[in-house]
Structures are given as structure tokens and as C-alpha cells.
Amino acid sequence: MTEGVSQNAQVVVEHLRAWNVKAVAEVIEYHGETTIVVPRELLRSAGERCRDHLEFNLLSDATCVDHFPIEPRFELNYHLTSLPKSAKIRLRVRVNGSDPVVDSLISVWPGAGWMEREIFDLMGIRFNGHPDLRRILLPDDWEGHPLRKDYPTQGFRDVPASASYLKKAST
């Protein structure tokens, strides 16, 4: 067991380990926040487990980080909140850039619908089992996924020579 893990998070980790030995790939403790890294194929069932057995009934947020060019490139973070226990935990899934697909959590928390659409729109992750996976913030005919690190901040439009200072590498 990782040291310094808060008591509530320890219960979650132990519960998930008891349910499936492969369920917890890694536990990260940083600034009082506990992150449980879950294998991609177990995400939905681990989510169900957290909701039904550990009372994490509110999906606070879902977001994605791009670590380009490091592989696995994408890191999906699900921030769960338990209203009965007043606890928070983060589930994390790492996804390769060549196959950015994960299971949708919409069947576990219906509120995941728009969060996943936003990630799909801006990061280009596809969600298996999402009934309405369309772009949400950008126009339907937009090309590319702007929050990816290989997408320049100023976009792909032509930059006039007078504004070439905008052309510095986007990091």
C-alpha cells in the first residue's frame, strides 16, 4: 500500500483490489489528492463499483491531458465526489495516441454525456457506447482537435508576415 494515502482513499483502493487484482494499476498521492490509475478495459466496471459500493454518486468532472510526444499520450481524469461520505477521488486512465478509445461512463453517470462530448471535441478521444458523440463547442465541420499539443495555439490559419511573431512554437 502506498504510504500517505488518506483513509478514505485507502478504503477505495482496497475495495477495488479485492474486487479485481488488476483494477488498480497505480496509486498516486499528491497534495492530499489520491489518483487511482485504472486499466482502460476496466474503467467502466471500476466506475460502477465506485458508484454502487463506495457511494461516489456525483461525477464532478472529466478531463483529459495530452502528454505529447510521450506515450501513452492521453491521460483521462475522472473526478468523483461522494455526497454521503464527503470524499473525493480521481480515477485515471492512460490511452495511447494510436488508439484513443475508452468506454463511455454515461451508463454509470449520465452527467458524463457532455463532459465526454467536450473531450471528444477538443482532444479527439472516442467514447465507446456514447449515444450522441458529436462536437459540442466547435462547429461540426471543424478539422482537428485544438487542445492537443500538436495543434498550434494560433490555429492552422495563414499568419500574415506582419504578424510572424505569432509563429513561435506552441508549447
Binding site: Y30, H31, E33, N57, L58, L59, S60, D61, T63, V65, D66, H67, N77, H79, L83, S86, K88, R90, W109, P110, G111, A112, G113, W114, M115, E118, L122, R135, I136, L137, L138, P139, P146, L147, T153, S170, T171
Partner: protein, 398 residues
């Protein structure tokens, strides 16, 4: 779907386009309504008209520069946005903010909550035909904005809360100004209630309209007054206190009716609770004391020190040219904005610019439940329902 079928078996529904330039959508929200007569069969919100890529822009700026962008997200709650972003970065840095600065932050975000609720009440009332409440609410909001102007130099895009503290010392005579608002508001809130709470038209337009089941509200990740009107006392200030909220005494108002009227009552009660918090905060704020954390290289040094100490000058130069680099890692902080749980996720890779900044905007996530709320309601009620979810499109689209 409940549709009326004609003799030939065709469904007789009609699609009505509401927005994006519709005044009652409080910005640029488009909703496609499928109607059966006057009843809503299905609603599909269409957003993104105000998308400005704030999260991407943050990745291109240093940590301190990104604060100015957060102001522009939820433009009725800029101080709250500053606060959540600063709390996340401070967590990443492990920075302790002086108590005095924490109390000033609390006072400012509570003033902001009142001003945001006043805008909400005014616009919601005008949507439902009560013109005068709008004018009254904006009259009082003006007084609060004057306080912000004195404190931060700006009425709306304040950028007052900075990493490690607040930007400047409170202005001379601030206590009289805040006291003036504290004295004025209780009777004014009573006045709005006289105009609305027992008004028969108001009750007819809001009672029983826009009902959502508590379990459904939680499943749809709804937070804020909408969730509290459904009887769930979830308030980040109470459950996950930040910025010394645990030292304040206040109630978390809840209702069980979970309709537009309940949400109205919760917000009005919240304004009164905010007044209590402001009063307590004023008592806690001392006249002297630090407003910024002692963190050379992160918090800009005082102007006077820069003129006498070389280190201060070097740090100042480094902060404003290169920025500072938090250790690699990530932090997620949630605060209670006037609209609900406002979250900020910041990830660092050890460089002076954030690897990723993500805002969990309450408007965006609460709006998701709009189709569930308005299904089966009348067209006229859609306006009431959008109003009581209290969306700010700048927050929805970011």
C-alpha cells in the same frame, strides 16, 4: 415520444428554433425544440457560439498571466474564477496564503455571489414579465460593483485575487462602503420578496415548473442552488471548505420542491447568508497584516523593496519575464460559485506554463439537464427553466 398522429399516420410535431440571439437565453444559447402543440417533446441544446478557447490560451501563458483569462469566463463571477484558479495553482505550489488575504477573498467572493444573484433575479424576473424587479436589482448591483472598482480598479474584470494572495491593499474607507451595502441590502431583498414571492403571477409561472428528481439531479452532476432546491445540502463551502470557510457560520439553505420556485427561494436565502458571511469576514479582517504569501520568485515583491534590494528586483524581473515553474503534478480544486461547483484542474510538467488548465464550469454541466427539465413542459416555461438553471454563456462555452 408522445406525438399526435394524423389519419395518415404521420407524426405531427414541429421543430422550433429558439435562439441563439434570444434575450431570454441570457447570451447565445440555441435550443432546438420539438413541439407537440405547445408541449415540448424533445429539446436539443446547441452551444459553442461563445467558445473562445480559454483553456488552450491558458497553456500558452505563464501561470500568473492566465488569471486575466479566468475573469472573462463566467463574467458574473470573475472573482470566483480568479479564486478557483489561484487555489489550484497554490495547491500545486504548496503555498500558504496569509489569513488576512483569505478573509478578504471570502468577503469579495461573497459580495460577488450577491451581485451575481441580483443579476440572476433581475433577468429571471424580466423573463417572466416583472419589469421593475430588474431595475431594482441592477440598482443594488451597481453599489457592489462600485466596491469592486474601489478595491481592484475594475468593475467586472477584476483580476483581484492573485497567486499567493490578493493584488492590492483594500482602499481607504472600504469598511464604510461595505457597511453601506450591508445596511442597505436586507431591506431591499425584503422588497424583492414582497414583489415576487407571494405574487400570484410569479407563483403560477414558477411553482411546479421545471421539476427534477433529486436522484436525477445528482446523476446529471448538477450542483449549486439547483441541487439544493432538490433537497440535497451539497455546498462546497461547507463540505470541502477552502479559504478558511470552516471558520464562518452560515446556513446552507435547501428546499424540497425542486422546481423554479424552490430555486428562486434558495437563491434569495443564499443572498441573506452571504450577508452574514461578509459581516463575519469584516470582523476578522485586521487593519494591518500581510496580503500576500512570503514566496520569493512566485509572489511579486513590494515596490519599495525593489528600489533597495537587488534580490527583489531580480525576482520581479524573473516573475514577469519567465514566470515560475511549479513541480510536475496536478491539482483539482472545487469552489462554490453562485451557479454551483466550479472546479479547476491544473496540470504542470515543471515548465513555467501550465500543461493543462481545465475548468469544470457549473453552467455547462447544469445546462446538460435542461432537456430533462423541460420535457413535457410548455414553451413559455422553457424561459423560466433556462432562467432558474442560471447559466452564463461565457462559462458554458469558455
Amino acid at each position: 415520444m408522445t406525438t399526435v398522429e394524423t389519419a395518415t399516420g404521420e407524426a405531427k410535431t414541429m421543430v422550433l428554433n429558439m435562439g441563439p440571439q434570444h434575450p431570454s437565453t441570457h447570451g447565445v444559447l440555441r435550443v432546438l425544440l420539438e413541439l407537440d402543440g405547445e408541449n415540448i417533446v424533445k429539446a436539443v441544446p446547441d452551444l459553442g457560439y461563445l467558445h473562445t478557447g480559454i483553456e488552450k490560451s491558458c497553456e500558452h501563458l505563464t501561470y500568473s498571466q492566465a488569471i486575466t483569462l479566468t475573469d472573462r469566463m463566467d463574467y458574473l463571477n470573475p472573482l470566483g474564477n480568479n479564486l478557483v484558479y489561484c487555489l489550484a495553482v497554490e495547491k500545486l505550489l504548496g503555498l500558504e496564503v496569509p489569513k488576512r488575504a483569505q478573509y478578504i477573498r471570502v468577503m469579495m467572493v461573497e459580495l460577488q455571489r450577491i451581485s451575481s444573484h441580483l443579476v440572476w433575479l433581475g433577468t429571471h424576473a424580466i423573463d417572466l414579465g416583472a419589469m421593475s424587479v430588474f431595475l431594482y436589482c441592477f440598482r443594488e448591483r451597481e453599489e457592489i460593483l462600485k466596491i469592486f472598482e474601489r478595491f481592484a480598479g475594475q468593475r467586472m474584470m477584476t483580476s483581484y485575487i492573485r497567486i499567493g494572495g490578493i493584488s492590492v491593499e483594500p482602499p481607504a474607507g472600504w469598511r464604510q462602503m461595505v457597511n453601506g451595502v450591508l445596511k442597505m441590502l436586507p431591506s431591499r431583498i425584503d422588497e424583492y420578496e414582497t414583489l415576487l414571492t407571494e405574487n400570484r403571477i410569479w407563483m403560477a409561472r414558477t411553482k411546479g415548473v421545471g421539476y427534477i428528481k433529486p436522484q436525477e439531479a445528482v446523476a446529471m452532476s448538477m450542483t449549486g442552488p439547483t441541487l439544493r432546491a432538490a433537497g440535497i445540502p451539497y455546498d462546497n463551502r461547507r463540505v470541502f471548505p477552502y479559504s478558511s470557510y470552516e471558520e464562518f457560520e452560515f446556513d446552507v439553505p435547501t428546499r424540497t420542491d425542486s422546481d423554479c420556485f424552490g430555486r428562486y427561494m434558495v437563491r434569495v436565502a443564499e443572498m441573506r447568508e452571504s450577508l452574514k458571511i461578509i459581516k463575519q469576514a469584516m470582523g476578522k479582517i485586521t487593519d494591518q497584516g500581510p496580503i500576500k504569501a512570503e514566496a520569493p520568485g512566485i509572489v511579486p515583491p513590494q515596490r519599495e523593496k525593489m528600489k533597495t534590494e537587488m534580490e527583489a528586483l531580480i525576482y520581479h524581473f524573473k516573475i514577469f519575464t519567465e514566470g515560475f515553474s511549479p513541480p510536475p503534478g496536478d491539482a483539482y480544486v472545487t469552489v462554490e460559485s453562485p451557479r454551483g461547483e466550479l472546479g479547476c484542474y491544473v496540470a504542470s510538467d515543471g515548465s513555467p506554463r501550465p500543461l493543462r488548465v481545465h475548468f469544470r464550469s457549473p453552467s455547462f454541466i447544469n445546462l446538460q439537464a435542461l432537456p430533462n427539465i423541460i420535457q413535457g413542459q410548455l414553451i413559455a416555461d422553457v424561459v423560466a427553466c433556462i432562467g432558474t438553471i442560471d447559466i452564463v454563456l461565457g462559462d458554458v462555452d469558455r
